[in-house]
Amino acid sequence: MTDAGWATLSNQAVAAAAVVYFLALLAHVVEWASLRQVDRTKVLVGAGAPVDAPVAPAGAEVEKHEDRVAMFGRLGLLLTGIAAAIHFVALVGRGMSADPNRVPWGNMYEFTLAGTFVVAAFYLVMSRRYALSWLGPVVVTFVLTLLMVAVVWLYDPTGPLPEALNSYWLVIHVVSAITATGAFTLGGMTSVTYLLKRRRGDKPDTGLWARVPSLDKLDLISYRIHAFGFPIWTFAVLITGPIWAHQAWSSYWNWDPKEVWAFITWVVYAAYLHARTTAGWRGRNAAVLALVGTLTLWFNFIGINYFSTSSQHSYAGAPALPDSSASLSGK
């Protein structure tokens, strides 16, 4: 297949993945909508409607209803899986369309494509182990939104890598950064859920909230996701980043805006881990910190590019400089 062919395949796969993610979202919405009806039936039966009412058929109906809910839940998960597979094809196509072939993360469009894929993949891998299926609609909405942002605002035709990115550290550094980003993003979602659920109190819940784990369990899931992401982030930001920066820019730490924000993110998550073991900071405050961490993470990923013009992470700006020769300071 020609490079142009691969590029077309990649673009079409992104569109197809977005459609399937959307179908997955619809399935989850139907699942959640049906959940509300189940409660009403349950309440009705529980309140002891007219004694002579036939109880058995109502029970059977409830069961049927629950089956339908479960079916839509499974359908949502299945569709998310299919969408993620197509998403992966889009990534591969993107890498194959470049000449020479390369890893598909050389500019913002590709980072976003890869980052959202990691979020979806993590969700799929962990949904069984941590019973995360309740998080499905949130994950799918997030991935869908960012894919749209990528296609509408960040799209860039495939090109060869700028010279500074042409290094095997691109694989190591960016894979670890994107992996940690995926984990932290999921952690942010569980932390938001924790905060929302906390406002309602951890009472025996009905409907939507019945599916969400208890506060303690949520806190534990959040912690585990963050504890997984934090060493990877450390590796990406404080080990591979500096090594590569030293090779390419002559200094391992330049206080470049991207570096500064990666450091800020690191400090915030370090504070989160400390907060979980500090009296008075457990639970709510820790979750707030985790959320702040997610915000700094995504601000660094996309936002800082629009605030700072002096970043050496030059892939970020649209008219990227191949090197820093324009920032000479003559005497």
Partner: protein, 523 residues
Amino acid sequence: MTATETRPTAPAPERRSGELNLRELVRWTWRQLTSMRTALILLLLLALAAVPGSLVPQERVDSLKSSEWKDAHTTLAPIYEKLGIFNVYGSAWFAAIYVLLVISLLGCIIPRTFVYARGLRAQPPAAPRNLSRLPSHASYATTESAEVVLERARALLKHKRYRLRRDAGDSSVSAERGYLRELGNLVFHLAVLVVLVGFATGTLFGFRGGVILIQGQPFSNNLTQYDDFVPGSLFDPDGMDPFSFTVNKFGIEWLTTGPRAGMARGFNADLTYTEAPGEPEKSYDLRVNHPLKIGGTELFLIGHGYAPVVTIRDGDGNVAASGPVPFLPMGPDLFSFGVVKAPFAEPTQIGLEGYFYPAFADVDGTPVNLGGNDVNPLLSLNVYTGDLNMSSGSQSVYTLDKSKVTQVTGADGKNVRLNLTPGETVQLPNGLGSVTFDKVVSWQRIQISHTPGKDVALLGVVLALLGLMGSLFIRSRRVWVRVSEGPDGTTVDIAALDRSGGADTDAVLSQLVAALQKPEEKS
């Protein structure tokens, strides 16, 4: 709160409650500073304090952008200057935060190290009297004898790498595991200090400089040769490595197709160097991402551009200026801006300012640059005459001081614009002289840096990562098993206590119970 403890030896009736003497005040301050809560707040402050430096261009990171910013914001600049916003990471208030953080860290870690050292050899604590008071506990009845159950529990826990209490008695087993967790925690925090030491060494004793070299122009490593030089505050110029080098050939691979056609893909500078005067000459292919290391100093290729060779003859016909003048690229297509100065021209000084097009094209009367490869070079310059103001202190070679010059106009009253191709000579009006664009050569920007302590910093971060993983993933846990024989069989009580937080103790407990109840699958 801890500082207000009663002190029976000092009956001081005149003291009001809450009043502290100096020693108590120091102690109170120390306790406050080293508390976890303070450490947390300091961490958040550190994150917050790092923000402004990412939004305002920093002097030490990009002095050109920084001074541009200052020119553009005349009201804010003096205020920011006072607050140190242009040098956040070297400012006193930023230092205050991390110094406090380090003190807080030391105050927390040193006592914990002693506690850990003592605890390392300690026995797991004896079983609490009432195991059912622990949050995770279970009990079951069995017909097996107490001895059998205990023996199995010991074997099981030992197999799971628990440390067992030696004198636990005949009715219970005390076990503990995960001693390395706290070690990881301590290693992580101490490694942070190692990183700081490495980083500080580099900042204090190192230097970073840059130089633009015309192809073929030799460079020897001493201060006078640098275009810009940022030394550490304890940097000793006498200790600089005495190497010298010359870029002999500079190669660029141009993209001719695709969305980035006209831009460079790869560049390499073929250079020869000697490590010290008299040493044999060696050669190296310097490329982006592939620095050259000479002694403790490293050379990086970080930029390139074009230097038109321009000759200015003055009104008397003498050569007033001649040679390559580096023009600075405005973008990846190497469309460049620069100035040529002839301060010794007679009768008046001459200054040229304008643009260099590597691949000039005229599209419907609009001049455009088609790419970085110099296939059709064109120099387009405005001419100024008068006093270039070069006696008033240092001046950038890349800008023209226009305060005392006038722009040269032609007979038609319009500003003169010289458009020159290589080899072309143009006479300036009013007998000012002539300008010749001889040819174009390339220049390379070489960054030269010496960063002592970088290996220390790297070792520190790697240690920190290992310690971090230990402290996050090693589970620190205590397990107690107690048996009591009654008339109708043996009752077994099991309790588990997770000391690390974030563990599913109930799951661990149920696994243990299951293993104890199934003797054939006890492993």
